[in-house]
């Protein structure tokens, strides 16, 4: 007896108890829809979190905060940089040092005070630092500036009270409106020498403007300069990183040698994970978005498993209906089963027919349930943000997804549904095989 004939039997049997089968399929479909919709919330929020995380940082970057030695954290120096660069998967290691004073920058009759960092441009180029305009510095007295540098350049001949609008932004008419690229700018650094404030001016050329930060609310008004400029500042201030020693200070604060910000770069998130493992083994303190994603994935995976488990309970409840339907079917068809066995139907074939029937109920239920779940999910994603926004009077994050149904969830749900329905059909199917031919034909069962 081939599958096609078994299928013919199943269809013919199911036609005989349409309403009962319909109700069972309906219960199964509802339970599958419940499982999918419930778990889809976990999937939706997970993808929203990950998307949010990836928006502001890059997954191919790893922050190397320091090296742990004898219980102390040491800053990263050139020696460690070389070690890190020697790791196969490391594409680049960028390093920055902060200037320990905020110089005053003057361009024509405009000026501003900006945080200044010393960057290692060759590694920044390898890491893929993008500029919106211009090029990276090539000469010793060339700089690039942050995307919002221009917004802070204020004219020197205007009173402070007139300068800013109600949002504390320089009024448009006072803003610097020329292209910065190629412009010479004066950097003014200060130091107290023998109790008197002395100033030193260094002329720099702006060669590029860095891309804006990924998040709209973040500002980058920094000036990125070179090691040579730092050396010049240090020789003027006679302190490391140009630190200002106030007249009442006897000596500068001790600044540990090394970089303030070190980042490793790779080509993929997997490589970052490997690099992270290697560096952790070597006692480096590292942090990467990949680590955070790993943790978030773990939490959400546990949450999703929990939701799927709760949803599975609904399917198990529905399976009671399938068990009941199949038991009724076996009871109703006992004489027919007896006749089939008398003719020569192998008990295995009879079992297969009933298992096929319960699987079919499960499959149809799963298909309908999945379709319903998709509709509910779409409606949730449309209506819920509107309800939440109107109730809380707050804008939800861009791209917020409350419910998401990936293919994996469909496969998991359909598999669970089929397994549960097959299991619930097992006992009735076994009962069918155990029917006594003589009793069945005498209609005694």
């Amino acid at each position: 007896m081939n599958l096609k004939d078994q299928w013919r039997f199943v269809k013919s049997n199911m036609r005989r108890s349409k309403s009962r089968i319909f109700m069972t399929v309906l219960a199964t479909a509802m339970s599958v829809a419940f499982l999918i919709v419930l778990a889809s919330v976990g999937f939706g929020l997970h993808s929203t979190f990950i998307q949010d995380l990836l928006e502001d940082r890059t997954v191919t970057k790893i922050e190397i905060a320091g090296l742990e030695q004898d219980g102390n954290v040491q800053p990263i120096t050139d020696k460690e940089i070389k070690e890190i660069e020697a790791i196969d998967e490391v594409k680049a290691v960028t390093r920055q040092q902060n200037l320990y004073q905020t110089p005053n920058y003057t361009l024509d009759n405009y000026s501003s005070q900006n945080q200044t960092v010393v960057a290692h441009f060759p590694s920044e180029i390898e890491a893929g630092l993008e500029l919106t305009e211009g090029r990276l510095p090539e000469g010793s007295h060339e700089i690039v500036v942050g995307h919002h540098f221009l917004n802070h350049l204020a004219p020197t001949d205007v009173e402070v009270d007139d300068l800013y609008d109600e949002n504390n932004v320089i009024k448009e008419k006072f803003q610097y409106d020329e292209n910065l690229i190629g412009k010479q700018i004066e950097m003014e650094v200060a130091q107290y020498i023998e109790g008197k404030e002395q100033k030193e001016s260094i002329t720099l050329t702006i060669t590029g403007i860095v891309e804006p930060p990924s998040k709209g609310w973040m500002e980058d008004q920094k000036v990125y300069t070179t090691e040579e400029v730092l050396n010049e500042i240090e020789s003027f201030t006679n302190t490391p990183r140009g630190e200002i020693v106030m007249p009442d200070q006897s000596q500068p604060a001790s600044i540990p040698k090394g970089y303030d910000a070190v980042y490793g770069f790779a080509d993929s998130m997997d490589e970052i994970n490997n690099i992270s493992e290697i560096l952790k083994e070597q006692n480096y303190l590292v942090y990467s978005v990949a680590d955070e994603i790993k943790n978030i994935n773990l939490v959400f995976t546990i949450a999703k498993i929990g939701l799927i488990f709760i949803g599975t309970i609904a399917i198990i409840i529905a399976s009671i209906g399938i068990y009941n339907t199949m038991t009724m079917a076996v009871t109703e068809r006992t004489p027919d089963i007896g006749i089939m066995k008398a003719i020569g139907a192998h008990p295995k074939k009879i079992k297969q027919i009933f298992l096929l029937e319960s699987s079919y109920i499960g499959l149809i239920g799963a298909v309908i349930g999945t379709a319903v779940a998709y509709i509910i999910s779409i409606l949730l994603n449309i209506t819920l943000p509107i309800i939440i926004e109107s109730a809380l009077e707050e804008q939800l994050p861009e791209g917020f997804q409350f419910s998401s149904i990936p293919l994996s969830l469909i496969l998991i749900s359909v598999t669970i549904c089929l397994l549960v329905t097959i299991v619930s059909g097992l006992k009735p199917a076994k009962r069918a095989t155990q029917i006594d031919v003589l009793k069945a034909m005498r209609r005694e069962i």
Partner: protein, 230 residues
């Protein structure tokens, strides 16, 4: 063809404390040759149906063996016997045992479906057999739409499609009027002569026993008379 050796069948009745042993068959031995029509007669409760059920594999004997050809069928599992029945033994029942939700065609086709024949072959064999039993025009009828005689013919046709060497019949005319009974007996005789099928018929009807080539009378679980008719 069929060798029955020292068959005993005992049923245990009642609960453990008050159980009684009912000996339905006592040391029954019998030999049936190929092409014979054997009628087993006896009163109700004499054990004739039990004997048929043991030969057909619906019941295991308490002791003794049944050989069909060279095969000891008493050692078969339920599944093995089902496969063996499908190939070798046909049944005709008193109350026809047709599946009510299937048409005459589908009922006859059923053993061929179980055997795994393709649709074209099944259609050909089924229609040919329907023709043989004179019910081709009734192929789309459900059992409830057929007379007793027609239902028994369908039941015989269902057996014939498998071309079994042995047919076991339990009161095949028990539910039929005398005219239809004669038709069915004629058909049995014809099948025996044309196809050489061995028939083992359980009956208490003298008319049925008359078509047999051998008559066996059972009384209280024992064979009391065995007579070959020329």
């Amino acid at each position: 063809m069929i060798e029955i050796n020292n068959i005993h069948q005992t049923f245990i009745l009642g609960k453990k404390q008050n159980e009684t042993h009912l000996h339905v068959l006592n040391d029954v031995s019998l030999s049936i040759k190929e092409g014979e029509i054997v009628a087993i007669t006896g009163k109700s409760g004499s054990g004739k149906s039990t004997l048929l059920n043991i030969i057909g594999g619906f019941m295991k004997p308490t002791s003794g063996t049944v050989h069909i050809g060279n095969t000891n069928v008493t050692t078969f599992s339920e599944g093995e016997f089902a496969d063996y029945r499908l190939q070798n033994i046909g049944f005709i029942f008193q109350n026809f045992q047709l599946i009510p939700s299937m048409t005459a065609f589908e009922n006859i086709e059923l053993p061929l479906v179980l055997k795994g024949l393709n649709e074209k072959e099944r259609k050909h064999i089924t229609e040919q057999t329907l023709q043989k039993v004179g019910l081709l025009d009734y192929k789309s009828h459900y059992p409830s739409e057929l007379s007793g005689g027609q239902q028994q013919r369908i039941s015989i046709a269902r057996t014939l499609v498998m071309e079994p060497p042995i047919i076991l019949a339990d009161e095949p005319t028990g539910s039929l009027d005398s005219e239809t009974e004669a038709d069915i007996l004629y058909l049995i005789k014809e099948l025996n002569q044309e196809l050489g099928i061995t028939f083992l018929i359980i009956t208490h009807d003298e008319e049925v026993a008359r078509v047999a080539t051998k008559q066996i009378h059972i009384h209280d679980g024992r064979i009391v008379k065995e007579e070959t008719i020329q």
